[in-house]
Each structure stands twice: as C-alpha cells, then as structure tokens.
C-alpha cells in the first residue's frame, strides 16, 4: 500500500497583501493566511494517486500553531493524516534549514509507516524558491523529480514511477526508482470542491504536533535562523516608474498616434508573423 507524504505550507496571500509604505514591510494583517496554492495541487495529486493505487495520504507542515488551519484544508481535499512540527527553534529557517527540519519529521513519520512517495508543490507564493522539495529529496537520498505535470504510472511492487517533467518548450518522460520526491506544477490537476464528508472530518480533525524534542537525531545547529546559510540583509520597495505619455483624443485619434509609434518600428513587422522564433 502506497504511503504518500505531501509537504505543505500556510502562507500569506501575496496577491492581496499590502505594504506599509513607511517601513517597507508587509502588513501581514492585510492578507489572509491560506494554504499555499501549489500545495493544494500536491495534496490533490496525492489523493488521486491514493484512489488509483490504494494507500494513505499524510500531510506535513512546519509552522506556528495557526497553521493547523492549512492542515484542515488538506483533510478537506482528502488527506488522511496531518502532522505539524512547531517550535520556536524552527523560526527564521531558510530553504536549507527548512528541508532539514521537514526531513527529520519525515524520518519520524516513516517509523510509523514507511514512506513511498513525497509530493511538494512547485514553490510557495511567499518564498518563491522551489528549493525545499529537492532539498528534502537529497537529504533522504531520494531522486528529486521537479516540475512534474503528470504522474503517468506508479508501480509500488516493482518500485518505480513514470512522470512527465515540464520543460520550457515541452516535457520529458522520466522513470525513477521509488521512493522518490515529486514537486508538482499547478496544471497537474484541478482541485475540486470538497465533499461534505471531508469538510465534517476536517472540522473535527486535530493533527499530530511535534516539537523539536519529539524528533530524533536532531542537530539543533541546523535548525531555524542558526541553521540557515542565507540571510536577508536589505529589503526595499521596488522603484515605482514615473509613467509615460498618455495618448489623448477620441479612439480614432488615439489609435492613429499609436500606429505612428509602431510605424517607427516597422522593421519588426517586416516579415509576416513578426520576427519571433517559430518552433
């Protein structure tokens, strides 16, 4: 039976977050905390694989106590179990320290039930790096499969997975041994509305929460701010451009001015189909 662990994160919704113009910091209260959108697809994919092949889906997160809400969201999507590691010692972790802490938690989950597959979202919308998934894979000595937009086949008995990995201009079909780690693109699936049963289950659900002391073989120097090789030295607001010239008049006058601008660049239009590269 397949045991899949999906790693998830609660993030501020960066699409609507407001900046404090005086301090150049984000006003976190202005944005609701949500399940990282990419992670919803990771959990959905895990649930779909469970339906296809049978098994269990566990979700794992690292975060402060309110992040329980993100786990409940995953239970709504169809996850079976939720684990959370929460401790002040994890605070300030960069991608390397985050992958270390999550790896320690996965090692502990593996003792409860061996893990065959780990699924992560492509990236988080607050960190925007996509580095934690591959980091976990390396630490657990699993092949990292990034940019996965389709899981074609999983064969637990023979221990392999076949996936499509998205490239800039297409995709590649990869066969990997299992266990392995996949980080998935949004396009891999659509997350449907939750069923009433799952919503009721989620409302009552309480995840298993571990502090650092509950994990085994942890080197504390590798956790949190202390364990993070990168530091943020400076933060600033992107410069606001001053804007250009507005083309005035009625629609015909406006488009005529625009056309004259384009005609100054007529060499770009010299060939039908433009000078872009045709594949």
């Amino acid at each position: 039976m397949l045991h899949i662990v999906a790693c998830i994160k609660q993030v501020p919704d960066t699409k609507i977050i407001k900046m404090n113009p005086k301090t150049n910091t984000m006003d976190r209260a202005s944005a609701p905390a949500i399940l990282n959108p990419y992670d919803a697809h990771a959990v959905e994919e895990a649930v779909r694989l469970k339906k296809r092949y049978g098994g269990t889906v566990s979700v794992l997160t690292m975060g402060p106590p309110p992040a329980v809400k993100a786990i409940k969201k995953c239970i709504e999507i169809g996850a079976d179990e939720g684990y959370m590691i929460s401790d002040r010692a994890f605070a300030g972790a960069d991608t390397l320290a985050t992958s270390y802490a999550l790896t320690k938690a996965i090692e502990k989950i593996s003792k409860i039930k061996p893990v065959d597959l780990i699924i992560c979202g492509k990236m988080t919308i607050d960190g925007d790096t996509g580095q934690v998934g591959p980091g976990i894979a390396r630490r657990l000595d699993m092949p990292p499969l990034t940019s996965v937009n389709k899981v074609k086949e999983i064969n637990v008995e023979e221990g392999y997975a076949i996936v499509h990995r998205k490239l800039e201009d297409g995709y590649e079909v990869i066969q990997s041994t299992m266990p392995c780690l996949m980080s998935v693109e949004k396009e891999i699936n659509e997350v449907p509305y939750s069923t009433m049963t799952n919503m009721l289950k989620a409302a009552r659900y309480q995840p298993i929460i571990w502090a650092v002391a509950d994990l085994e073989d942890v080197e504390r120097t590798q956790l949190g701010l202390k364990g993070s090789p990168t530091i943020v030295s400076k933060v600033w607001a992107p410069t606001k451009p001053s804007g250009g010239e507005m083309l005035e008049g009625d629609a015909a006058a406006q488009t005529e001015q625009l056309l004259n601008l384009l005609l100054e660049k007529k060499e770009l239009f010299a060939v039908k189909g433009g000078s872009g590269v045709e594949l």
């Binding site: 699409k15 607050d126 580095q131 092949p143 990034t146 943020v232 010239e245 629609a251 625009l258 770009l268």
Partner: protein, 341 residues
C-alpha cells in the same frame, strides 16, 4: 572552511539541442563583471554529451576557463548525474560563486547541489553584485510575489550560489576567436549509479511564437471580461505577428495556458514591444515585463497602475480601441509594403 581557498566565479553552462542556452551567455556577462571586480577568473562548467566544442562559444562570451564533462552518461539532463559531476568539480577547484539560469534545469540542479555541499542558494535573482574585498555576493530578488525586493547574503559558506532569471542580465558581445584554458574532466559515474532514466523528450510543435523569445508580445488581463473578450488579444497578436501574454488572473481563470503567464510566477520577458491590454498592473506582473523596450498600455481605468510602468498609455475601451488599431495597422502595413516594392 577557509574562504581563501575559494576563488573564481563559475557559471553552469546549460545546453539544449546542441547549443548553449541564452541565459548561460547572459550569466557569463554578469559573471565577468563580478570576476573583474574581484580580480579573479570567470569559468564555465559544461556538462553533456558531445559538448566539448561548445567551449569555444563559452570562451567567446567571456570565460577564462571551461571545465568540461563530456560523456554519454550526460546525454540528457538528470539531477543525479549532473549534480555529482558539479559537486566533484567544486570539491576539486573550489569556486567562490556559482551562477545558474533560473530554468527548470538550472533550478533543479542548484537546489540539489546546495543541499549536498551544503551552502546557501538565492533563487530567481535579478540583481547581482559582489563586495570587492570580502567576496560577499549580493544577490537581490523580488520576494513575496514581487511586493518587495530583498538582498540575500551567504556569509558563512562557500561557494555562494544563485539562480538568475533569464533575460535580466546582458551577454557580452562575443569576441570571435577568443580562447582560454580548457580543462577536461573524466567522470567515474556508471549508468547503474543513476536512479532515473529519460524515456522520451516531447517538444511542443506549436507554430505559435514562444513568449520568452518574442520581439512583440500582446498581453491581456482580467479587464477583457471573459475568455471571449480575450480573443481580442489573440487577434492583435496575429495581426502584428506577436506572442500572446497574460496576467496571472487570466491564467488562473483558465482563459489561456500557464506558459503564457508573464510575471513573478510566470515568465520574464523583454520584447521590443509589449502591449498590455486590460491589465491593471499588479506588481507581480510588472516585474515580469518592466524591461521591455516599448510598453503600450490600454485600459479603461485612468488610475490603473499599469500606466505608471508604460511608455505610452491609452485610456479607453479596449473593445473599441483594439479593433480600430487592427484595422489601421492592416491598412498601414500593406501601404508600407507597397511603398517598398
């Protein structure tokens, strides 16, 4: 770890279809500046099968040294094989900085290498600088959906690593015939050591212009109201011979596929002309197109932020303006052709 043992700025040279990809050439340009500032050398690491001859290109674009791993095991990019080669090379020659293009391959490789070394890795950098005396890399990047810029440092580890967005740095003008030191490395890797296989590579066979390579992009936003309204973007793109771009909202609404998305979580583009139609100009979109040579915005909201980032703006109804433009363009274009015959 003694930092004095680490020297040289390295660029991972990504190869696709037998050629060096543009972002690697851009990074040689950026890396050259860092290397000059530090008074150290610029090197490229070239991994693949039948890639040795590409070292000529890498030298022409500024590298002093090229390390080559040319072996059948490197035929296709695979995390494990490329990572092991690069780790071995790092161990042997100890660079102070390694830069990678923020492509699917570059990001995948850099994440794995950073974990194994271990060292810090800054993702999707858009500005690079280095402290002359300490050699500290200052890698800056948009963060939190482009709402802020942040400078990231890695003080305690070497090499320092960053992935860098394509189309942000400038490649040097190649000096034909420029050459350098070629270091050929042998790998001890065996096929059995690698746990993944590439079974097939499928390239999109679309006739459409690729957005990251297009000279002209016509991009549309949620202001167009519906997938049907978005057809206007397709029509103008076809008329002017441009690629279709879109804001995140449009992609999330499913009007076009994700590979059309311009911005922080999409593609960074720098076309010669960028049309933004019905795009409000959220910061996460702006970071992906602000370096375009000519930005033209059409929006019915005079307060739309997009006008701040445009060279020319038209306040008006896109459904009136764009069809008119298409009509005028078609007429003018034909006249231009006649004039030149």
């Amino acid at each position: 770890m003694s930092f004095e043992d680490y020297s040289g700025i390295w660029v991972f040279i990504e190869v696709k279809d037998g050629e060096v990809v543009p972002v690697s050439l851009e990074l040689l340009g950026a890396g050259k500046e860092l290397a000059d500032k530090r008074g150290t050398e610029l090197a490229g690491v070239l991994i693949g099968e039948n890639v040795k001859h590409l070292a000529d290109t890498v030298f022409e674009y500024g590298a002093d040294t090229v390390y080559v791993y040319d072996d059948a095991i490197f035929k296709n990019y695979r995390t494990e094989s490329y990572m092991k080669a690069l780790l071995e090379c790092c161990e042997k020659y100890k660079p102070e900085v390694i830069l990678y293009g923020a492509t699917s391959t570059g990001k995948d490789l850099a994440s794995a290498v950073a974990t194994d070394l271990p060292t810090g890795l800054t993702a999707d950098s858009t500005i690079l600088d280095i402290e002359e005396d300490t050699g500290l890399l200052l890698a800056s990047r948009p963060a939190f959906g482009g709402n802020i810029m942040a400078t990231i440092l890695c003080k305690k580890y070497r090499p320092q690593m960053a992935t860098v967005r394509p189309k942000v740095m400038k490649a040097l003008t190649p000096i034909l015939g420029r050459t350098g030191r070629l270091v050929e490395e042998k790998t001890s890797l065996k096929e059995d050591d690698i746990r993944t296989k590439v079974l097939e590579i499928v390239q999109h066979t679309t006739k459409k212009v690729r957005i990251d390579e297009a000279d002209i992009i016509v991009a549309g936003g949620k202001g167009l109201g519906s997938e049907k309204g978005f057809q206007l973007v397709h029509e103008l793109a076809e008329t002017v011979g441009g690629a279709v771009g879109a804001s995140r909202d449009v992609v999330e609404a499913g009007w076009v596929e994700h590979h059309h998305q311009v911005g922080q979580t999409g593609v960074t583009v720098t076309p010669k002309i960028y049309f933004a139609i019905g795009i409000s100009g959220a910061i996460q979109h702006i970071v992906g197109m602000q370096n375009s040579s000519l930005i033209i915005a059409i929006n019915n909201d005079p307060e739309a932020a997009i006008f701040q980032s445009s060279h020319y703006g038209i306040v008006g109804d896109a459904f009136e303006i764009v069809p008119l433009l298409i009509q005028q363009f078609k007429q003018a274009f034909n006249q231009e052709v006649v004039d030149h015959v």
